[in-house]
Amino acid sequence: MALTPKEAPTLPKTPTGIEGFDQITFGGLPKGRPTLVCGGAGCGKTLFGMEFLVRGATQFGEPGVCVSFEETADDLAKNVASLGFDLKRLQRAKKLVIDHVYVDKSEIAETGEYDLEGLFIRLGGAIDSVKAKRVLLDTPEALFAGLSNEGILRSEMRRLFGWLKEKGVSAVITGERGEGTLTRYGLEEYVSDCVILLDHRVRNDAVTRRLRVLKYRGSTHGTNEYPFLIDQKGISVLPITSVGLTHPAPQVRVSSGIPQLDAMMGGEGYYRGSSILVTGTAGSGKSSLGAHFVDAACRRGERAIFFAFEESPNQILRNMRSIGIDLGKWVRKGLLHVEAVRPSAFGMEMHLVRMHAMLHEHEPDVVVMDPISGLIPSGSAFDVLSLVLRIVDFIKARGATGFFTALMAQDDVHATGLSISSLVDTWLMVRNVEANGERNRLLYLLKSRGMAHSNQIREFLITDRGVKLQDVYLGPGGVLAGSARVAREAEERREELIRRRDERKRELVLRASLASVEAKLAALEAERNSYKSELQTFVNEEGARRKAMASDREELQVSRGMRVNGPVKDRA
């Protein structure tokens, strides 16, 4: 009955306790089997092995044995003391045995057949004396350098690794990198379960350390090169925190600290947990946007870290105070931590680890990095990009909002040296415009994923009450800002006044005309009435006269006897 891949047992693992390492190996080193750790001189292999033993003894209840072929027990204790490992104390507590095996070719004459049983006896005795579960052999290559019978050595090597497996100890074997081979004497032949490669090179005047799991039989493992560093707590390996893009997408919005900017983003501000990038030339005011955001966050009682790569904390506090943002009070309340670091002080990995450590310790809701382009001198643009990627990842995974500023050449809207603009959710750009003998600033909201946002350009003013955004004017020459805008506003007001005045005038004229016509109308009306009444009078009088005349005639005729009751006689 064949085992399906799911049923096939995976080899059990033993945790090393080394920061990040157990993560990338999904559990640690193969339990009960040997692991080869190789690399050039000074790459940290001895330290790796020692940390494996020390943490085994102090954290996992597994005592250990170190067989050191190159350093004395005292030297070893001194070397790791700076990492906080107290070897002498562990030895006294019977948690650790350190045996220095000294092989000096000049002191040994080989006179026939032999085997390395002495080594086995010493190692066996040491393991049994503390019931060790972990062993470090650093480095058996010294045997090859000290003894000349390769045939014997090879067969004893094979016997040793079989013997270690039988003893059931998890062993770390160190080996120095050969020319074109993993180790000088081919130790990889015997140690085939797990091979770790450590690398360290100097780049841009800073030491860069990388770790790679070259081989891990029976286990999945991260196959990338992981940067690591050695500091006062030992080795820290930095895995990318999320293999897939599985960040949660929060729906909550937070204010940017500038009401007009919030208005450009649908009235609400940035998405919590998103990443915001502000680019612009030197002195364009990018940091002030970061300061506003931090101020707004602290006002809400949230915590923030401000990583500054170009200015000291005091400088930043002073500069922001001069524009009306008091960050000092948040620092005093413990909500804001300003961490200023000279970029050239450390290599990329060290920066990363320090930032990781601070994020762990301070647990901020807002993280500002100002400016990320400041890191470029200590690494190539690619290094900085990968550093920022990791930080963005880490910040997002914690649900915090990241705010980054970057120096960018003018007009560099599309081509960015860092190409980070495609990785962030919101991209703001501050641009200087020169016209009429002065420079003004404009703010562009180039993108903001997941929200309706204004595509309008705003004038960006830095006042002593903070940043204010102003609508711009569109003049015949393009966007107007600064004094040109002020002039334009004044001109428009004047035009308005003139127009009003003209209207007023016209109105008056019309009214006057109307009035005069109405007056005429009234006069005519009066004339009409008078003629009418005159006519009426005339008609009346005429009527009366005719009547009177008729009655007079009648009377006359009556009086002349021409008429009474007879016919009127003719006089003739």
Binding site: E110, D115, I121
Partner: protein, 107 residues
């Protein structure tokens, strides 16, 4: 002529240098026995009366391996005269043994 204090402990008092030899073995293996017999023969032939052999069996006393930095078995350690010399192998190559013990100049 003053007699040296060592003469009382030695097999035979002599004015010649004295050799203190320690042979480390791990159990009674054929190779260990071979080494011992080779050693005895060489000592009788070249160091008659001037040597002392101590046999240390690491299987019985494993803690003694660290002191003389014993890796290989068998190992012969010449503790006296100083400086200490270490010779590993079954001692079958007599020339090498003699060179190693400073009884013959090396080529």
């Amino acid at each position: 002529m003053r007699k040296s204090a060592k003469s009382n402990a030695a097999v035979k008092p002599a004015k010649a240098p004295h050799y203190d030899l320690r042979l480390y073995v791990a159990g009674q293996t054929p190779r260990s026995l071979q080494a011992l017999s080779n050693l005895k023969r060489i000592c009788e032939e070249h160091l008659a009366g001037q040597y002392r052999i101590e046999i240390i069996d690491l299987v019985k006393k494993p803690q003694l391996a660290a002191g003389d930095q014993i890796l290989a078995i068998p190992t012969l350690v010449r503790t006296i005269p100083k400086p200490a010399r270490k010779i590993i192998g079954d001692l079958s190559n007599v020339e090498r043994v003699l060179v190693g013990l400073d009884l013959r100049p090396s080529e």
